[in-house]
Symmetry: C2
Subunit: 419 residues, 2 copies
């Protein structure tokens, strides 16, 4: 992508109500724009990050045999009345059709639709287990939308639902998804911490995947020996400083939640009569689990964790581009030509490049590049001669490479995704 | 994908309110499920079709320099009041936050958000032209939801918005997008007809892309000589049977709309004061176009057009899988083994295969395969020996091929997309 064609620009100043670091850098870099409190537009650079996160999540959901579906956001009121959550889930947006007999919930979660859907296909034990997932927009009427992408009224979420004949089979799959979650976050450069938490309107208790972040909205009490923590919402003043498993001292951490998993058991099967027949023809309730990852929140957390004073430092796996190519001294025809030929060469080889081909001062280009945080920076200038000066955004170590060596080095770790 | 793991099953009977052919086959095949009137869930096979359609649309939007964004569905009421459409766009869903001072429109279209967004980045003539697009869920409170996916209350849409300094530049880009649209539909096997229509709440008039379909909801008067039609909504009793361009006789056709394009001119720039400065520093309004394609509707139209009495016949470019592999006589270990090894070989070579590995009668497998409509059917049975019997769903011509020749033939037209 030629930066001269990109319709967004980096912003020098943003409004004072952007307290969180992730929001400041994401808005200033033109990754997102706030439309109103808790509601964001994803701009070209930001949506590329979202799509990379989605690709990783899809791959790992597929690896645990998740089947991808796409469920509606408009839900019949009756389904929410059936589970009792029409009245108990405070954050449900409710709306009426102009045909006044029709009322909808604007889905904050999808149990109320996925259970009746699954019921149409579950008859016998032979139909179990299976799992379906989707990546979709969720709506929640949060009282306080805050911290940029971390708590919004509208957000992108991956939700997976699993269906089982027995509690044991649910437990087995719960562990499997738990391992898949660790892998998903690890692929994005994040070390996730497993934490016990309450279950809200979903279940008695749940597990959260938390990322240590000084601006995180959660507080956890964590035992490194057991690799297990507890969210402050489930601790008591008496027990919070000791691990309930091994008795060792816990550490207190500020964290941001990126995923949560719930054993629903038969809580949502019951109201819809979701049953199956065993080998003997005896009827049983279906056991369910549900497993969420906040896709847009994850982008905010990654931005919150990976940055320095100058801007963002995207992990390679989710960076909007692999290479930020800067052309300096563009007034010199020969230099400009070399930059264009390197750009063409990279694109033809499937490397994702953002090409700063604009007429700007070197200092301005460097500062913007620091803010955007693309992993590799390649500078073509009068000084670089027939070579290219390559820096990693992370370490800022500079190397002078021939075009061929740069291409070889870049290709060896290029993403297989199309530019 | 092993069909034994697919959670959906084909249905024998569906409710009588499914009058349209596309809905009947899509619901019976397990591609979609109706959640309520005008609201559908996309199931694994159906969502694969949606994603293929999206990929083609993305490629062609990128070819006309569209930059992908993802805009929110919750819009501030004020923006809709500013354009006057809070009161004039009947089908807008309106909802309130539990914080009673906040009211939202649930977006049926995105001019009200994309214009203020663009305003932040447009200052000078140098910032123009550009175009942004998104693929996103739209909500419209239609009085009568009907014809399956063809008119829903919630649907997937691609919307592109372009920004220009002059009406001439808008006209140039309008033609460019028009050609891109013809190409998009052509790649899906559809011959689109260009039709003049009214502009609704968007503009004085518009152009629609219509597909001839006996169950179509539109009536057009079409001149083959000029390759141009008029929607019945813009003809008069006196002029409808004659082409207004060449004077020849028009034909009357029943059609389904798959795309529409509008010259918005300054209709939405005006209320938001979207201006730019020319070379002399003089301020002018920005000219805009908007361009829609109904992604989920397109899936319905394709299903409506490509079928026979036995079921669907997907065009290759949007088929959920390239090959439907049927294993018969599974009780014979040798036959079952050969089917599995062919399946593994195809998957390893990146061919998208649905593998019917279930213990079912041959007749049942054939009937289901007819219904699902995957382009190539490969049958491994006792009869086929060490070869594979290959049929095209379209022509039903059968050939007996060696595994190697089948793989070679399949690979030569395999989709590059991952299975």
């Amino acid at each position: 992508m030629r930066q001269s064609l990109l319709f967004t620009k980096t912003l020098k100043n943003i409004s004072a109500d952007s307290q969180s670091r992730n929001q400041q850098f994401l808005v200033r870099g033109g990754f997102v724009q706030q439309v109103m409190a808790g509601v964001y537009a994803f701009l070209p650079l930001g949506y590329r990050v979202i799509r990379k996160i989605e690709t990783i999540v899809r791959e790992e959901m597929s690896a645990v045999f998740g089947q991808e579906v796409f469920l509606p956001a408009l839900h019949p009121k009756n389904n929410w009345v059936a589970t009792g959550r029409w009245d108990t889930f405070d954050a449900v947006f409710k709306l009426k059709s102009r045909q006044m007999d029709i009322e909808y919930a604007l889905a904050p979660s999808h149990e109320e639709v996925v259970v009746p859907l699954a019921k149409q296909y579950i008859h016998s034990y032979k139909d179990l287990p299976f799992a379906v997932y989707q990546i979709q927009t969720k709506f929640r009427d949060e009282l306080r939308a805050k911290s940029g992408l971390l708590r919004g009224r509208e957000f992108i979420m991956k939700d997976l639902y699993s269906f089982h004949a027995t509690p044991d089979d649910l437990a087995r799959y719960y562990e499997e998804v738990s391992r898949a979650y660790v892998k998903i976050f690890f692929r994005m450069g994040l070390k996730s911490l497993l934490v016990e938490a309450s279950g809200g309107t979903f279940s008695k208790k749940s597990h959260e995947f938390q990322i240590a972040a000084s601006a995180g909205e959660d507080t956890i009490y964590y035992c490194s020996a057991c690799s297990l923590g507890r969210n402050e919402e489930v601790v008591t003043e008496a027990d919070k400083h000791l691990c309930l498993v091994c008795g060792k001292k816990t550490v207190v951490l500020k964290t941001s939640e990126v995923g949560n998993i719930f054993k629903l058991n038969t809580k949502f099967s019951d109201p819809f009569g979701l049953k199956y027949e065993d080998k003997e023809g005896v009827s049983h309730m279906v056991y369910m689990g549900c497993y969420g990852i906040g896709i847009s929140r994850l982008m905010g957390v990654i931005a919150e964790v990976f940055n320095d004073d100058r801007g963002l430092i995207w992990p390679s796996a989710v960076a909007p581009y692999r290479v930020h190519l800067l052309s300096l001294n563009q007034e010199k025809e020969e230099v400009a030509k070399r930059a264009v030929s390197l750009y063409d060469m990279l694109v033809q080889n499937g490397v994702e490049v953002l090409f700063d081909d604009r007429d700007r001062r070197a200092g301005e280009k460097f500062a913007e590049s620091d803010l955007l945080g693309i992993p590799l920076r390649a500078v073509v200038s009068e000084k670089s001669g027939d070579k290219v000066e390559v820096k990693e955004r992370k370490s800022m170590d500079a190397r002078l490479l021939s075009l061929e060596n740069f291409l070889a080095a870049t290709l060896s770790c290029a993403s297989p995704q199309k530019p």
